[in-house]
C-alpha cells in the first residue's frame, strides 16, 4: 500500500472513522497496532512475524536491563539486543553481499558459496534502528522502559513511518502514547495539508523525473555530457522529492491520527556546507548515526585525527546502511571525506575566512549532485562512465534534454524560495513583507511544532487559499502520472 494509492486512502479513511468512534485511548492504541500489522501484512505478510519477534526481543531486553542489578548483566542484555538486531539486518540485507564478496575472493581457489534466496523484509533498516535506539536509550538511563508489550509493539509497528522512516526514537514517541490520541479537526487539517504537500512532491516531481533518471542510469554510455548532467540533476531532484515527499506524507498521516513525528528534511539543497547538508538531509538518520555511532566511537573527544576517522567511519557505515553494495559504501565514504574536509577547513581557517554564501552553496550542491552518481548507478563501472560523460569524455553521443526536468526545477526553486522566506529568513514574519502578504492571502499560518518542526497550515478561508487548493487538486487530477513508482527508500 503506497501512500498515494487509492487503497491506502481508503484504509486511512476507515481507520480515522474508527478512531473517532472508539475515543478510548487504550482501545485506540490497540486499533492502531492492528491497523499497522494489517498495513505491513499488505506489503508482505510473511515478515510480519519477524517484525513482531524483533519487538518481543527488544521489549524483553529493555525490561531485563532495567531489572538487572549488575552492570555486567545490563551490558549483556544490551549486547544481546544489539547482536540480535544487527544479526537480523545482516542476514536479510547483507547476506548475499557478503557471499558475493567472499566468492570474489575465493573463486580463485575454485571455492564458492551459492547465493541465498532471501527477500528483503520491508522497512527492516528502519525498524531495527528504531528498536536498537530504544534499548540503548534504556541502557543509558535516558528513557523510561515501556512496561506493556502491546504499547511497545505499537511503537515498533506504527505504520506511517514503518517502511521508510522518519526513524522515530522511543523518547519522542512513547511519551505521546500517554496522552489522549485520535483525530481532531485541527490535526486533520494540518495533517492533510502536510500529506498534500508530500503528494505534490511525489507525484508532480519525483514520479515525473523517475522515468528520465531511469533512462540515463540504465544506459549511461549512450548520452552526451549535457544530457548526462540532465540525468544526474533529474535524480538529484527525484530522490529529494521522493523521500521528502514520503516523510511529509508520513508526518501528515501520523498527525491526522494524533501523533507527531520528527522532521526529516529541512530544504537540504539550500545548504552552504556539507555539514549543514547533513543537518538538513534525512535528519533522523544523521542524528541516529551521531548519537549511536559517532559519539560511541569517540566523537571529537580524542584528538583531531580520531575525529576525522570517526566521521569517515560513521558515514561509511551510513552508506552501507542504505544498501548492500560497494556503491553505497563509496557514496558514504565521499560524504565522510567531505565532512572531515569541512571540519579541517573550519579548524584551519579558525572562522576568519568564510566562503561567501553563494559559492559555498554552489560548491556544496555540486558535490552532493556528483555524489548521487555512485548512489544511483548499478555498478562501479557505470559510475566511472557517468563521471567521464559529465566531464565531456564519455562514449555516448545521444542528446536528450528533458523538458520536465526544467519544469520541475522551476517548481523546486519556487518551493525553496517560499520555504526560505517563510521558515528561514523571518521566523516571526514581520508585516509589510511580500512573503507575509502571500502567506496571509493564501489563508495560511506558520505552525511551530516542537517535534515536527515548522510548517504551514491553513488558518482561514480566503479566495486565494481555496483557489490554490482546488487548483492543485485539479492539476493532480489532470496531469499526475498514474503509473506511480514505489518510493526509493523502500528498497533500503
Amino acid at each position: 500500500m503506497i501512500f498515494t494509492s487509492p487503497r491506502f486512502l481508503a484504509f486511512l479513511l476507515v481507520l480515522l472513522v474508527l478512531m473517532a468512534l472508539v475515543q478510548r485511548r487504550e482501545a485506540n492504541k490497540r486499533l492502531l497496532t492492528l491497523a499497522s500489522c494489517f498495513f505491513y501484512a499488505a506489503w508482505d505478510w510473511r515478515y510480519l512475524g519477524l517484525l513482531l519477534a524483533v519487538s518481543v526481543v527488544d521489549f524483553v531486553a529493555a525490561n531485563k536491563i532495567v531489572a538487572a542489578r549488575s552492570p555486567v548483566f545490563k551490558k549483556r542484555w544490551l549486547a544481546m539486543s544489539i547482536v540480535s538486531n544487527l544479526g537480523v539486518l545482516g542476514y536479510f540485507k547483507y547476506n548475499n553481499f557478503f557471499i558475493e564478496n567472499f566468492n570474489a575472493l575465493t573463486s580463485w581457489f575454485g571455492f564458492t558459496i551459492p547465493m541465498a534466496n532471501i527477500l528483503l523484509p520491508a522497512g527492516i533498516s528502519f525498524y531495527t534502528f528504531k528498536t536498537m535506539s530504544y534499548t540503548i536509550d534504556v541502557y543509558r538511563g535516558e528513557l523510561e522502559v515501556c512496561r506493556s508489550w502491546l504499547d511497545y509493539a505499537m511503537f515498533i509497528t506504527f505504520f506511517p513511518e514503518l517502511i521508510a522512516g522518519p526513524i522515530v526514537r522511543g523518547s519522542i514517541f512513547l511519551p505521546q502514547m500517554q496522552r489522549r490520541i485520535g483525530p481532531t479537526f485541527e490535526r486533520l487539517i494540518s495533517g492533510s495539508s502536510l500529506f498534500l504537500l508530500g503528494v505534490i512532491k511525489k507525484l508532480f516531481i519525483a514520479d515525473r523525473l523517475s522515468g528520465i533518471a531511469d533512462t540515463f542510469f540504465a544506459s549511461p554510455d549512450l548520452f552526451d555530457a549535457a544530457s548526462t548532467w540532465c540525468g544526474v540533476l533529474a535524480y538529484t531532484l527525484q530522490i529529494y522529492c521522493d523521500f521528502a515527499g514520503y516523510s511529509d506524507m508520513a508526518i501528515g498521516v501520523a498527525r491526522m491520527i494524533g501523533y507527531d513525528l520528527p522532521e526529516n528534511f529541512r530544504m537540504p539543497y539550500l545548504s552552504g556546507s556539507i555539514t549543514e547538508f547533513w543537518r538538513r538531509w534525512h535528519m533522523t538518520l544523521s542524528s541516529w548515526l551521531r548519537d549511536y555511532l559517532y559519539i560511541p566511537l569517540g566523537g571529537s573527544r580524542h584528538g583531531v585525527l580520531k575525529t576525522y576517522r570517526n566521521l569517515f567511519l560513521t558515514m561509511l557505515l551510513g552508506g552501507l546502511w542504505h544498501g548492500a553494495s560497494w556503491n553505497f559504501v563509496f557514496w558514504g565514504g565521499l560524504h565522510g571525506c567531505a565532512l572531515a574536509g569541512h571540519k579541517l577547513w573550519t579548524r584551519w581557517s579558525g572562522g576568519k575566512w568564510s566562503v561567501p554564501r553563494l559559492p559555498a552553496w554552489l560548491l556544496t550542491f555540486t558535490f552532493v549532485v556528483l555524489c548521487w552518481v555512485p548512489f544511483r548507478s548499478r555498478s562501479f563501472a557505470d559510475t566511472l562512465t557517468i563521471f567521464r560523460s559529465l566531464a565531456g569524455f564519455g562514449p555516448g553521443h545521444y542528446q536528450f534534454l528533458p523538458v520536465w526536468l526544467f519544469r520541475c526545477l522551476v517548481l523546486c526553486i519556487l518551493g525553496h524560495l517560499l520555504g526560505y522566506l517563510w521558515f528561514e529568513r523571518s521566523a516571526d514574519l514581520p508585516p509589510g513583507r511580500a512573503s507575509t502578504w502571500l502567506l496571509r492571502s493564501l489563508g495560511l499560518r506558520i505552525e511551530n511544532n516542537p517535534v515536527s518542526g515548522t510548517f504551514v497550515v491553513p488558518g482561514q478561508v480566503t479566495v486565494c487559499g481555496v483557489y490554490s487548493l482546488v487548483f492543485i487538486l485539479l492539476m493532480l487530477f489532470f496531469f499526475a502520472p498514474l503509473n506511480t513508482s514505489p518510493f526509493i527508500y523502500f528498497q533500503f
Binding site: 494509492s5 487509492p6 487503497r7 501484512a41 499488505a42 508482505d44 505478510w45 510473511r46 522515468g211 528520465i212 533512462t215 544506459s219 549512450l222 552526451d224 553521443h397 545521444y398 542528446q399 536528450f400 534534454l401 528533458p402 523538458v403 520536465w404 482561514q460 478561508v461 480566503t462 479566495v463 486565494c464 487559499g465 481555496v466 483557489y467 490554490s468 487548493l469 482546488v470 487548483f471 485539479l474 492539476m475 487530477f477 489532470f478 496531469f479 498514474l482
Partner: protein, 348 residues
C-alpha cells in the same frame, strides 16, 4: 461569518476550476465523431493538439483524414496512409507528419499525388482488414500504405478488451482465423456537459476529463491485491496471447487479399541505440511474409543508422522519455523519405 467564508470558497473554487480547465484544454484537445462508414474518427474540420506527449497540432478535414484540405477528384487518385496512433500522430504538427512530407517528396520528384493519412488510435491488423472495403470504397486510393509494428499482428490484433476495435478470432487452435469487426458505431450520448463542452471547449474539456476518469478507473482496478504475495502471479503472456503462437502468415495473407495485393507495409521496428543498423529478428519475419504475399515492404529500420549518427532517436520526445512511446519528427521525416523512394522506385 460562515456565509462570508462560503462565498469566498465558492469564488475561489470556481476560479480554480476555470483556470485548471483552461490549462487542460491548452495541453490536450481531441474531439472524435461517429462516421457512418468508418465508425469513430477524429472530428471533421477541427484542430486537435497534444502537448503532453510531443508538441503536436493537427487538422482533420473529414472522414478521419489529417490534411489541410480534402483533394479534389481532378487531383487524381491518392496514396492512402492507413495506421493507428502512429499515423494519427497527435504528437507532431501537420508539417512534421510523414503524410505531408511524403507528398512534398513526391512533388519534388515531379509526381503530384495527394497523400491522405488515415490513422485511428488503437487500430491493428484486424482493423485494417475489417475496414479494407470501406476504406477503398471511400477513398479510391491509387496505392495503400499500412503502418504496422510487430504488436499490431499480435496482442493488439487479438485483444478482447475493447469492442470499438476489430480483432482476430478462431474456432479452435488449428482453425482458420477470421476478423470480428468493431461493434456497430452508435452516436455517443449528447449529454448536457458534452453540449456545453462543444460550445465552450476552453471552459470544459469534456474529452480530456472523460479520458482521465477512464485512466483513474483503470488505475484503481489495476491496483495490486491487498495481500499480493498470496495472489497467483499472472504472466503477461496469458493476458494477451490467445494462442500458443500467432498465425502471422495467415494474418499477412488476409491483409494482402483485403487490399488486392496493392499494398506497402511500412514497418516500425524498435530502435536499439547501441546497435541501430542491425535489423530486428521480427522485422525479418514480417518482411519475408510480405514478400511471399506480393506486398511491398519498407522498414523504418533502414534509416536508424543515419538518425543515430545525428544523436537522435526516432521515438520519444523531450517532454516524455528517450526512445519510448510514439515516433517523433525524425522518425516521420525518415519514413517519408523511405516511402517516397520506394513508391518512386515502383514507378507509381
Amino acid at each position: 461569518m460562515l456565509l462570508k467564508a462560503f462565498v469566498r470558497a465558492a469564488i475561489g473554487a470556481a476560479a480554480a476550476i476555470l483556470a485548471a480547465n483552461f490549462i487542460a484544454d491548452r495541453a490536450h484537445r481531441f474531439d472524435d465523431e461517429i462516421n457512418p462508414v468508418l465508425g469513430s474518427v477524429p472530428a471533421a474540420a477541427k484542430f486537435a493538439w497534444d502537448h503532453l506527449e510531443g508538441d503536436g497540432r493537427g487538422y482533420w478535414t473529414s472522414n478521419g483524414v489529417r490534411r489541410a484540405t480534402y483533394p479534389a477528384p481532378s487531383e487524381g487518385a491518392p496514396i492512402l496512409l492507413v495506421g493507428n496512433s502512429y499515423t494519427e500522430a497527435m504528437q507532431v504538427t501537420d508539417e512534421q507528419h510523414y503524410g505531408h512530407l511524403l507528398e512534398q517528396e513526391l512533388r519534388r520528384a515531379g509526381k503530384s499525388i495527394p497523400v491522405l493519412p488515415f490513422g485511428r488510435s488503437g487500430y491493428s491488423v484486424a482493423d485494417y482488414i475489417a475496414q479494407a472495403q470501406n476504406i477503398q470504397a471511400l477513398f479510391h486510393p491509387k496505392w495503400v500504405v499500412i503502418q504496422v509494428d510487430r504488436r499490431d499482428f499480435e496482442d493488439r490484433a487479438w485483444t478482447k478488451m475493447d469492442s470499438s476495435v476489430a480483432r482476430f478470432t478462431r474456432s479452435d487452435q488449428a482453425g482458420d482465423i477470421k476478423v470480428v469487426p468493431q461493434s456497430t458505431p452508435t452516436r455517443t450520448r449528447n449529454s448536457l456537459l458534452r453540449r456545453f463542452s462543444q460550445r465552450f471547449p476552453e471552459l470544459f474539456p469534456y474529452h480530456f476529463i472523460y479520458g482521465r476518469i477512464l485512466e483513474f478507473t483503470l488505475w484503481v482496478r489495476n491496483e495490486r491485491p491487498w495481500f499480493h504475495v498470496l495472489a497467483k502471479p499472472v504472466s503477461a503472456s496469458s493476458m494477451t496471447r490467445p494462442d500458443s503462437s500467432y498465425p502471422l502468415d495467415r494474418e499477412v495473407a488476409l491483409l494482402a487479399e483485403a487490399y488486392h495485393h496493392r499494398l506497402t507495409l511500412l514497418y516500425l521496428p524498435r530502435f536499439d541505440p547501441r546497435n541501430p543498423a542491425a535489423p530486428a529478428a521480427d522485422e525479418t519475419t514480417i518482411r519475408e511474409l510480405a514478400q511471399k504475399n506480393g506486398l511491398r515492404f519498407v522498414s523504418l529500420g533502414a534509416s536508424f543508422a543515419q538518425i543515430a549518427r545525428s544523436g537522435e532517436s526516432p521515438f520519444g520526445f523531450d517532454n516524455t522519455e528517450f526512445n519510448a512511446g510514439h515516433w517523433n519528427r525524425y522518425g516521420h521525416a525518415a519514413a517519408a523519405q523511405l516511402l517516397a523512394a520506394d513508391l518512386l522506385n515502383m514507378g507509381l
